[in-house]
Symmetry: C2
Subunit: 237 residues, 2 copies
């Protein structure tokens, strides 16, 4: 047996940057809702990084897959069982955890709004966006997080996750994990704009995503304006 198996070796943990969408209904009569991108965080209650905000995750067991580890963690904290996960990056710097050498297998997670509403208060959803070149997160106009409020290197993980999400919605199907099974094109565009942080023309947006969606024969039944056709994610192609 190779002697490497007797040496000390790095620990491995998971960290998941899980995003969802939050629809803030407007109070005023007939006004489009605000749609924001949110990320799941919790406040550490032990050292290191006591009272800093962090991504859910945990140490990886010897017989466990990272995706299962993350699913287990977020189920413990929040009783949620439906979350799309894909690997983001493995953070390896020598000093990222003061206790020991710990590699972080980081994942990008996406869940739709119905799932995210099930979460309990062990965790908190923060609206997250780029402001100039920095990430900023806030909750209910009462709590604002900037770089120094995050524990470990989680600020960098969140930053990379958001950049990955922004670039992947331009050429992949992952945006549909943030939407209910049936949605209007305006909803889809609002989610798209919440992720990219900039507006698009409805006419051009519809052309761009036309090949990704499949129309149904159902319509919304809001009042005061033309009903919108409901769409689903297109399966083939």
């Amino acid at each position: 047996m190779d002697s490497i198996f007797n040496y000390e070796h790095p620990f491995v943990c998971t960290d998941a940057a899980i995003f969802t969408i939050n629809t803030q209904e407007s109070n005023s009569y007939r006004k489009l809702p605000d749609i924001n991108l949110e990320i799941l965080l919790y406040k550490r209650s032990t050292d290191p990084y006591h009272d800093k905000w962090c991504l859910p995750g945990g140490f990886l067991n010897n017989d466990e897959l990272p995706e299962d580890n993350i699913s287990r963690k977020i189920f413990e904290k929040a009783h949620v069982d439906q979350c799309y996960l894909e690997q983001l990056y493995t953070f390896c710097s020598l000093d990222r955890d003061p206790r020991a050498r710990v590699l972080s297998l980081s994942y990008l997670g996406l869940m739709n709004e119905a799932q995210s509403k099930k979460f309990t208060n062990e965790t908190t959803w923060f609206t997250v966006q780029f402001q100039n070149k920095d990430i900023i997160a806030f909750h209910n106009n009462e709590l604002t997080l900037t770089k120094q409020d995050f524990g470990f290197d989680h600020y960098h993980i969140i930053r990379m996750a958001l950049e990955r999400l922004q670039s992947k919605i331009l050429y992949s199907n992952i945006i549909f994990h943030l939407l209910p099974p049936e949605f209007t094109l305006t909803q889809l565009q609002n989610v798209y704009e919440a992720i990219l942080g900039k507006k698009d023309q409805a006419a051009n947006f519809r052309r761009k995503i036309n090949d990704l969606v499949q129309e149904t024969d159902k319509y919304t039944s809001d009042k005061g304006h033309r009903p919108a056709k409901l769409y689903t994610k297109k399966m083939e192609g």
Copy 2:
């Protein structure tokens, strides 16, 4: 101290899919050379996977960065110190190494032809390409590798590395790591085509990569045809 630090935890190794370009000069007078994409492999001399072909790499020390680990390994095997590395994916399946739970931090590596010629015979460069949907590797018309000839899950790593390389040359600058500091547009196109495995029209190719290169005032001095202008990678933008 958290009790997790007393438990058994996964081992971590690196695996590097390192590519280069090989220019096969044609014997016949005045004929364009064949340019192939090659990958660095070695034949395992111990179990598990004795006599199977594998990617260079090794177990990660507690105080070592993955990039340094890989640089060390390929320097030991081949006295090469210049290689671009970027993280590819972390392979985590439970049974990928029969000896223990071992995660693989896999990297995509690129070096130019001058660097790759320095390698000694502890390792071998194999021409690598897609054939239908599978990866196939061969060396000097005498040795052909298919899926079952690779150790561990390295076939899958190579496959992902080649797919990543193919997609990234369309929107990034990484192709220049495979070229000398100064090159002709025909050379650049040949490398591009060797990676993608399909031909492009010279006129269209030049338009597409025009923003990525910077012309010099030098020319090649081959005989029997019009000299080609030498270009460098454009720095800004």
